[in-house]
Structures are given as structure tokens and as C-alpha cells.
Symmetry: C2
Subunit: 440 residues, 2 copies
């Protein structure tokens, strides 16, 4: 049941291809790079997410009859280009940062090598996937830092486009959330799912007590009851009366949370429900979570803010040509010259320098020549950041599916440990590590 | 090539269903409503979008083998519920605001009638679609107002999740944009597509002149050349030298746009290219567009800001139970009582009152009884805002596909005309119309 991703593409990519097939430049070997000029939103670090999804999407980037008919009927490209696209399959190579890796301005998150023709048409798809998923993962990591040991559940599906919601659940899980409400993220990516009940459940019943009794009969006493449909104190009393002191949890979705959580905790304890957990879910972001650190809250449900990147809904990554072959086949590093958007031409090797296990810089070694790319052996005090993701068109199988998500989550937890303490603060600031460019 | 939308759903909907099938309440007739408590982001009006997409998604909300296997294997629901879901098809009715309609706090954008079982499980899907699409349409309408007669192209696919990008292109078109760069939006929804060229196109070639010559050979002199890869003035001279004074357009993607646009216009005119259009595309939002009103700009390309709702990436709509049948079948209006999130129970009829063609209020007539809903005939000085969207499970065919998008765009253009002048200002403010609740 795959769907072609081939038209998730900006028209100019196909018209450039069309013109390049006419003048022959479409067959020039090229190196494109995905990177961010800055960390949007004053973030101190970024988190790469979407890589595994992108590898799937590149595999499905095939032009079928429907896609070709649209291009032909609307005269987007000529017959030669339609024929080229009919046989299109990406056969180049992609290296890049592992999913879950942290990144900084200029980090070469992806390096795509192939002909201009096969690489340029992946621009929009690659950026759509990585920009959204990385924005969510970056925000989620901040929330995970703010929450400390308390579990976080992603519950924001309703505040993101329906497919972005699945991607957001996946990205948040990679960056440290422990579960999602989104069932498709469970099915497709193996993210653990969770849920409580809506106010509609209580309102459907003649009384709050009826609703609680029914939920417990179906889901057991370990379930979480939503106690703020009518009066919170009354809701807590009813919950404990119905479930007994073994009640798993209560959810609070409104009110001034530090005050309400303390009151609910005191009441639960008074009623003997000392083990009943409190989940709060009302418009939380990383700052609200941090403000609840001293409150008797056991877990957080986060909606809007995580799926919208907490004020930064796109990571701002770009896809740029950094080198190409000449007519005679020799490599030329290239870069746009305009002042505000200048970038570094040339192929890059990236390393995280470390001092006693703590990261000190993002070291980017720029190669003009291409005969020699800097290797890990030359940087014994640093961690090499790039891995092969696609080799001659074949994706790295370990990055795919639920196993890829689990690996990305584990990798993120590991590499977050190496960040300096200043990276963990929530306020807007400069990147926590300097990016240093050196010539190979 | 349809894909099931059934698991684009929060887990709690299915566990509530599960518990409701056990205690019998799942079969109670219910009325759910989609509305916004406020206009997020200090907007003066909202624009409904996504309705046609939602009707498609509800049609595809069927549980196939993959979905049922996931629910069974992960013990999300019991065998009775799996059986119910296997036969699930929404057979209820939905009325609501037309796609493209303007809305205000409390506007009942959708009213969903059916059993609790069939309606509650649509919550997440309905909100995902409407919240994202309406946020984009609302931002796009503001940009369209700022741009006046100058055309706007949506070019933000790379800054939104790959499927949300298609939805964003569609929503922006409904709210007044004239085209998109996104090819899938062209294929799926009939949105006109456009494009120029990327910096990579110029960098691929040995010289800027080679790149321009090739583009013109392929696309004709009416194409738009990107002139800021190296030096803007040199780029303009090269463009006119290559294309002649018939050059269709130039695109500027960097620099201080009011200054650069004026310089480029003067140079084009000096070179005799008086008819060559100027398109600007660098990080525009409604405020930047308004600031360019006096500059010699012919069209705008808008990316990040429109696909992310220009600071308000979700419309903040909610899906709430407003009435249900009792055990004896009589209707009971219901609403959550908590102070901060209180809502109005009961079924609602909505009207836009008008004075000499200008809207004066959002009139919401609340019915407790359900025998009698307020009708248009009772409000001769007002426009009835609700239309049937799904009747006994059958979607309104005129709302679907490319024809539905065209109708929504035309409807939006019409109803935007009736807004009072104060609705058209860009600054953050209160809603431009008061919402008035009256009893039926």
C-alpha cells in the first residue's frame, strides 16, 4: 500500500531537470548538502529526526502512471523528461548524521551524491521530512530535559496535520518522550501508545461516577481517570470511592496546575490513595514543565507545543549544491555569494571534538579536492558524525522501520549526555558549541 | 491507492469506545461540535479549510486487516470492539460551515450527529485536518489582504511535513493565493503550479549566463530568472542580455527587499525591460508584504510563514460533546463545567447578521430541545452559515476534489467582501465580530 512520493516536489526541480537534460548539465556529478545556517528559535542545539522516514520516502520516489500523466497533461516537462522520470530511481549515495544526533549551525546533516538529475529532484522531499521532524525533536528534547525523570507523553495529534501527527509522535519519542496517543505511530513505528479518557466520556454518562465505574470495569483500576469535568475535588473523591486506593492515576486538564496538582495530591493522600499518579496535560510546553518541577506531578502529557516545535515549527534546514563536476569531470566547489545567505562550498567531513567526554566544538573539515576527505583516524579526540545512509541507491536497513526508531532514540540519549551543561538551559541563546571550519 | 485513515486517532477514543460498548452507552445518540474558543494568534477572523479533505478522510476511515491486527496484537481493545471496528463506517450526519467560510469564537464549524461509538472516534482526524488547514488558510487570507491585487504564490512545501505541504498549498489557494510550487497539490486538488529556478541551477553551470541561456531555451523568454546567485546588478544585466527586453521576470531571494527591488526595477527599465516582472521570495510574511506595498514588486512568493500559519501553526479548534440522548432517548445538552474551558452545551444554528451587506455579528442560536432548530427564515437579515456536509454517511459531492477546492476559493472571496473594514487590519486584536448566543 505504498503511495508515490514523487510529486511531493516543487515544480522548479522538474523544470530545472528538463532544461538540464537539454543542455547536458543534468548528467554532471553533484554533491548537495542539507544543513541549517542557524539554530532557529534561539535553540542551543538541534536534534536530527526524520532520517528513517526520508529513506522510505526516497525508496517510494518513483513516477507512476498518475504522476507522469499529470506532468504530461499539464506540460510541466517535455517528453524526454517524462521518459527519464518514468525510469527514475535514486542510484546515488547519501551520508549524514545518524537520526537522533545533535547538530549545530553548518552541520552537514546530509550529503547527497549523484548526478544533478537524480539528486536535485529530492530537494523538497528531503527538506519537508527533516525540517518538520527535526523541529519537533528539537522541541521535544528541551521538554525531556525539563521533565527530568518524569515521563512525557505526546498527545498533540489533533494540533498537527494528520500525517505530520504521526511523524511528530515518532520524532518526540526519538528525543526522549516515552509514549504517544497516536495509534498509527504505534503501528507504523513501534512507538508505545497511551491514553486516558476525554471529557466526552464523563458527559456521555448520567453521572461522573457512572463514567468512572465503566472505565474501571473495562480498563482496570490501573487506568487514569480524568477528574476535572465538573468539580475537581469532587472528581477526586468519586474516583477514589469507585476505584479504591489502588487507582492508577488521575489526569488534570485545566486550572492553575501547580496549585491544583498540590491540592489533588493532598486530597489523594488524605483518601489513602498515596500511590495514585497525577498526570497534567493543559497547554504544557518546556517552560510550564520546568515550572512544575517542584509540584507533585508524576507525568506530563504534551500536545500543541511539541507538535508545533514550541514556537519554531520548522528547523529551517536548506538543501544546497556545494560541489559539481566540470565538463571534463573535475570537481568544483560552489556556493551562493549573496551576503545574507552565503554558504560554504565543498564537501565536508564533520566531527564533534570532545574533552573528557564533553563536547567542545563542531569541527567541519572542508575538502576542495575530493580525492581526500578527512577521516576519524585524523581526529582521535573527536567523534565522527557522518555514517552511510544510502549506498548506490540502497538504504541502510538499520535506519528503517521501528528498529531504526529505537536505534535513533538510544543514540539520542547517548549523545545528549556529551553536551555541555550550558546546552541544557531553556532560554534563547547562541548555540552551545562553536562551529569551526577548517580546510582538509 | 487509498490508505486507511482509521489509526490517525488517539488511543483514548478506542478505549472509550471499548468501555462504552461494554456498558451500552456507546449506542447513545450524540451531537459533537467542532469550534474554537478563541481566534488563536490575535486574529480578527478565521478561515475554515480542510473540509473537503476531511470528507475524503472520513470515507477512508475503515479498519482493514493491518489496523485490526495492530489493535488485537497490542490489546488496545477487546474482541467485541475489534469486531465492531471491522464493520465500521460512519453512517451519521455532519453539517457545518462551508470550506472557505470565515469564522469567529464559538462558530460551530462542524456538528456531528451519530452514536457515541461512530462519532467519538473521528475526533482526532477531524481536528488534525481542520486545525492545520484552517491555520494556514487564516494566515494566507491575511497575506492575500496585504498583497492586494498582486499575485501570491505558495512556496513553503520544504518547511512543512510532506503531506501537510500539500494541504497547505490547497488551503492557501482557497484563501486567495493564486498558485503553488507543490506539484502534488496540482495533481490532487487542481491548484495551479508555478516555479522559477534554484541557485543550484546557476551554480551547476560554468557561468550565470550559461544557466540563463539554458533556462530560456527550455522554458522560453517568459520564464523568471533568479538573479541573486552572485551579484544582483550583474545578474540583471546578464538576464536582459540573454533574454532581451521580453524577459518575463526576475526573482530576488535575498537582500533588503524594498531597496533591492527599487534598484532592480530602475536597472530593468534602464535596459529597456520595462515589462519584466519582479518576484520577491525572501522570508515574507503578511507584514513584510504590507511593507512592500509601495515598492515596484509584481508578485510575491511566500514560504515558511504561510505553511506554518505565520506564528499560529494550529487553529486551536476543539471537538466537544454538546448533547446526548438519555437512556430513554430524550436529549440532554451537556458541557464541561471547569472555569477556564467552559463551553456551551446544546445544538446550535449559526447566522451571520448583516447590515447593508456588511457583517455585524456571529449569531448562535442554542437549542436545548432539538425538536426545533432555528432556521434561515427566522433571520431574514442574516446569512445561514451551516450546510449539510455528510447526510447518513454520504458526503456532499460538491465539496470534494478539485471542484470542491474551486468552490471553496470562490466562496471565500465572496464572504471576505462582507467583513467590516476593521477585520482587514493585520495587527493583533479582538475578533472583528462579536459572537452572540441566544436561546432558540
Amino acid at each position: 500500500m505504498t503511495r508515490s512520493t514523487a510529486l511531493l516536489t516543487d515544480r522548479y526541480e522538474l523544470t530545472m531537470l528538463d532544461a538540464g537534460l537539454r543542455d547536458g548539465t543534468a548528467h554532471r556529478r553533484c554533491v548537495f548538502e542539507v544543513f541549517g545556517r542557524r539554530l532557529s528559535g534561539g535553540r542551543r542545539f538541534g536534534v536530527v529526526a526524520g532520517t528513517g522516514r526520508l529513506l522510505d520516502a526516497i525508496r517510494d520516489f518513483r513516477f507512476g502512471d498518475d504522476e507522469l500523466k499529470y506532468l504530461r497533461d499539464n506540460r510541466i516537462v517535455d517528453a524526454t523528461t517524462v521518459e527519464f522520470l518514468a525510469g527514475y530511481r535514486f542510484t546515488g549515495s547519501i551520508s549524514g548524521y545518524r537520526e537522533g544526533e545533535t547538530y549545530f549551525p553548518g552541520s552537514p546533516l546530509l550529503t547527497i551524491e549523484g548526478t544533478f538529475a537524480e539528486a536535485v529532484i529530492l530537494e523538497t522531499l528531503a527538506l519537508s521530512v527533516l525540517n518538520f521532524d527535526s523541529a519537533v525533536a528539537t522541541a521535544a528534547a528541551r521538554m525531556s530535559i525539563a521533565a527530568g525523570e518524569r515521563p512525557l507523553a505526546e498527545m498533540g495529534s489533533r494540533r498537527a496535520g494528520e500525517e505530520s501527527a504521526v511523524a511528530a509522535a515518532r520524532a518526540a519519542y526519538i528525543a526522549g518522550f516515552s509514549a504517544t496517543s497516536n495509534l498509527e505511530a504505534g503501528r507504523r513505528w513501534g512507538v508505545p501508545t497511551m491514553g486516558t479518557a476525554a471529557h466526552a466520556w464523563t458527559l456521555l454518562h448520567d453521572t461522573e461516577e457512572d463514567a468512572f465505574r465503566s472505565q474501571i470495569a473495562a480498563l482496570g483500576t490501573d487506568t487514569t481517570l480524568l477528574i476535572d469535568t465538573y468539580d475537581i475535588a469532587e472528581g477526586v473523591r468519586t474516583a477514589v470511592r469507585v476505584a479504591g486506593s489502588e487507582l492508577g492515576g488521575v489526569r488534570i486538564d485545566s486550572g492553575d496546575l501547580p496549585i491544583v496538582a498540590a491540592e489533588v495530591r493532598a486530597l489523594l493522600d488524605e483518601l489513602g490513595a498515596n500511590g495514585t499518579r497525577i498526570t497534567v496535560t493543559s497547554d504544557l510546553d518546556e517552560y510550564a514543565i520546568a515550572a512544575l518541577a517542584a509540584s507533585p506531578v508524576d507525568s506530563y502529557g504534551v500536545g500543541t507545543s511539541v507538535v508545533t516545535g514550541s514556537g519554531t515549527p520548522t528547523a529551517g534546514l536548506v538543501f544546497k549544491l556545494v560541489a559539481r563536476a566540470d565538463a571534463d569531470g573535475s570537481w568544483v566547489p560552489v556556493a551562493k555569494a549573496s551576503a545574507q545567505k552565503a554558504s560554504h562550498g565543498g564537501r565536508k567531513a564533520a566531527f564533534r571534538t570532545l574533552d573528557a567526554g564533553t563536547a567542545t566544538s563542531e569541527l567541519i573539515v572542508v575538502s576542495d579536492g575530493f580525492e581526500h576527505l578527512s577521516t576519524a583516524a585524523e581526529h582521535p579526540d573527536a567523534r565522527a558524525l557522518q555514517v552511510p545512509l544510502v549506498v548506490d541507491g540502497e538504504p541502510d536497513a538499520t535506519a528503517l522501520g521501528a528498529a531504526g526508531v529505537a536505534a535513533a532514540r538510544a543514540h539520542h540519549a547517548r549523545v545528549r549526555e556529551e553536551l555541555p551543561v550550558r546546552a541544557l538551559a531553556l532560554s534563547r541563546s547562541d548555540p552551545a558549541l562553536p562551529t569551526e571550519y577548517v580546510e582538509a
